[in-house]
Symmetry: C2
Subunit: 118 residues, 2 copies
């Protein structure tokens, strides 16, 4: 079973956080995964945190979590904060795997998407 975890910044605006949840549902549909196989976590302003979200995955038997940093640039959140939070989780689950993918802004097709929106 593939378990994705989309990690977003999080916002004080509830609607912005809901937008991420909707995006996760669409990604699950795109990948023909169940809704629970594409989880969401937030760094700030919303819940669950990365730690709580990954604990929940591993507690229900998932063996590997693939983290998708939902960020456009490799700023401090991507370079420092997300890996730091994940290191803390790894200590609790030594027999499980956590993989961090490149941030979404690094996608080779982002420029094309952006051009299409203009």
């Amino acid at each position: 079973m593939k378990q994705l975890l989309i990690v977003a910044h999080g916002s004080r605006r509830v609607a912005a956080n809901k937008e991420v949840l909707t995006m996760a549902s669409k990604v699950a549909a795109n990948l023909q995964l169940a809704a629970e196989d594409v989880a969401v976590a937030f760094l700030e302003f919303s819940e669950p945190s990365i730690g709580v979200a990954i604990d929940a995955c591993f507690s229900r038997g998932v063996k590997e979590v693939v983290v998708v940093p939902y960020f456009l640039s490799a700023g401090s959140h991507v370079i420092n904060d997300i890996p730091h939070e994940i290191d803390k989780v790894r200590h609790r689950w030594p027999d499980k795997n956590i993989t961090i993918l490149p941030h979404v802004g690094a996608s080779g097709t982002m420029a094309k998407l952006l051009a299409q929106t203009c």
Copy 2:
């Protein structure tokens, strides 16, 4: 002449800001525009600001600037900060047009791109 302005959050990490500049170049190439026709501005941590960037466009004769909020969710930056900064510019250039596009995360193809990266 179409003038785009990609507005990003900005980062303390120089590499993250350069990433946005590289993205702008790719968007220009995608749209067969000159490099200067796709400008970049930052809300925080880097320059130019939205005001300085738009002033520069209008000062060189551009009649309309199309602002592309390079954000994944409609948080406070998208809903409040960017429009606020642009309102301030509008007062200085009453005969020019500024259009704000939806933030990039609202793109109908973002879920597909995200699914492809997983």
